[in-house]
Symmetry: none
Subunit: 209 residues, 4 copies
């Protein structure tokens, strides 16, 4: 029993450390950009040695993958909470804001789909299990989008298009607005503001003639 307990404690501790490292890496990614995320900088910020990072992650790539997983999980949970919403417009806006958070934290630096494709098609040293996790999670996020779109309140918006085919449409819009408005700080020269562009997009999408 005691040994088993001990092992569990160890495991939990290990999982804790992993999480810490991921969070530290995220912090650096968000605040200083992708080039600043080096094993050294992460180790230093986490109060660990360089070598230790490799006890928790086989690779820098694996660390990145775990960051991606973390953020996507967060997005997944956020989307889950939107499913019950009654007001179609409000729900979509809320989701777009969830996406905004995701985008600022990591979507800005890594395109999940492209990343997934690259990792699958390169003889990378990536743990296939984690890659599958990523794929599953991505599917889960998209599935939630679909659930939201299947909410009867959405019907007038879809204009007859099946919910499954509306997924990429919604996703494109969120991606596009984020990409256009969030790459430079607010009040940027381009004059594009996330909320305004989102509102205008919604207007074009949903305003009844």
């Amino acid at each position: 029993m005691t040994i088993k307990r001990f092992m569990e404690l160890r495991k939990a501790q290990k999982e804790n450390r992993r999480q810490t490292i991921v969070e530290v890496a995220e912090e650096i990614l968000t605040t200083k950009g992708i080039d600043a995320v080096t094993i050294r900088s992460v180790a230093k910020a986490a109060g660990l040695s360089v070598g230790s990072i490799y006890m928790y992650f086989k690779n820098k790539e694996e660390l990145f993958l775990c960051m991606l997983l973390g953020h996507l999980e967060k997005l997944d949970k956020a989307f889950a909470s939107r499913i019950q919403g009654e007001d179609a417009l409000q729900v979509l806006k809320a989701m777009a804001n969830d996406y905004k958070d995701y985008y600022l934290a990591c979507g800005r630096h890594i395109n999940v789909i492209g990343y997934l494709y690259e990792q699958r098609n390169q003889a990378g040293e990536i743990n296939p299990t984690l890659l599958n996790d990523l794929e599953t999670l991505l599917a889960s996020v998209l599935a939630k989008t679909q659930v939201v779109l299947e909410n009867p309140a959405m019907a007038p918006i879809l204009k007859g298009l099946e919910a499954s085919r509306a997924i990429p449409v919604m996703w494109s819009i969120m991606t596009g607005v984020a990409e256009l408005t969030l790459t430079s700080p607010r009040g940027n020269q381009s004059g594009f503001d996330f909320d305004r562009v989102l509102d205008d997009t919604m207007h074009i999408l949903f305003k009844k003639d």
Copy 2:
């Protein structure tokens, strides 16, 4: 006379080489990704020495900027040809396809707006003239989008929104669809196809209830 001619030839030749280098760099960018675009790799692919690249471009940054300029110019010209179109839907689709070409070639790897912002706010060694060119060109592309949107045929789509505010909406949609569907080769696992998603987006946007 002969000397003048000679000088002109030299200049033309130089411009040619510049173009060749840019094209080689684009080729590498498109096929192997942005990290594969190193001075060495470009030089090798262009059949030149490392030092020679620096005869044509002050910096790696300048080379990138020139790539951007070239592609944006191409996009600008393509958009220009769309202005006269009568069928709003067809025009927008055509523009989206123009954007697709741009995206595949370079938009995928470099976000112009973000790039412009970064360069402006870092004491980079970038030729300010070229940076201004980029800004002007970007403005020109956006202006053409506006002209297209001011075409009376577009009126029913805008639903009263001013053309100037519809610009980022259209741009977001193009960006978003491209981002979602073109980061991995066609027939990718995500199952998202550019044309189909574009069509569906247009359906949601324009279909009368």
Copy 3:
């Protein structure tokens, strides 16, 4: 306890290596000139890899600075031991010989004052602490010169000039004699010998009419 001990050992070892690298660099500087001191050559001569040098020194500049500091410290100590001397002439000669060692080792290649000025006025990546150390040390050396000159035994030499103003005079003489006689190996074509020129200078300076 053991851990503390271990840490101390590590630190000492690190300091040792630093010193080794500095010495290797000095060796190259002295024998092959300043242009031969490259990170590669130092690494090779120290039996280390290029990257390793950067574990001990942030910069090539920092390595140089440390060399300077080491030599200046040595000079400072040497000067300190001269302060008590009774025979003014002997003291000055001894100091000139101390300076000779310093000059041969590094003064010949780097002018401290000019170096300090340049580093202060360029946005170099130099550790400001080290730069301050250099400034302090330089001041200390000069201060010791002053103390020596304030020794009553020096009075007849100064002929009423304040000691503080005699500092640059003494310094100039030491620098000048070194500069003239030590740039090429002894028995050089110019026929100028350090000891002889020094003696003659002292003769002109101090011989009573």
Copy 4:
């Protein structure tokens, strides 16, 4: 006759160009430092092509040598004009100022004696004739120093030391004062001013007890 004339013209023209190039190089050396003196920068500033420089100078080294020769020649002439002076102190001061000009222009960057030694002892690609010229000129400058020192007005200063042995003494002093006070711009932090240090040195040297 015409052909001979033509050849002479050519030769004169060539010599002119050489001179121009040397002057341009000096200008760069003085204003921007030794690292800024590249074949390219010189060619550009002289309005010539890179290749052309090599028509007039076999080497970058040869160009430097010619610069040295030019400056030393100037110094030689300046010293020549001091020979007749009656007031020993004034003459020495004037010579120190001549040296100052020389130092600021090139002595600061190149130590003639050391340079001569290096070139003699390295299998450099230097024109031996030019090297001899340099040696001769250096001897001439030193000889003039001797003539000045043999001026009866100097007698009280030498205190019995032969003029030939006083040469390096004078030279050391000029070198040293320049080295100490001219490496950073006037009003530098070190607080050493050329004129003041020179005056003080003269005071110690010549003030009768």
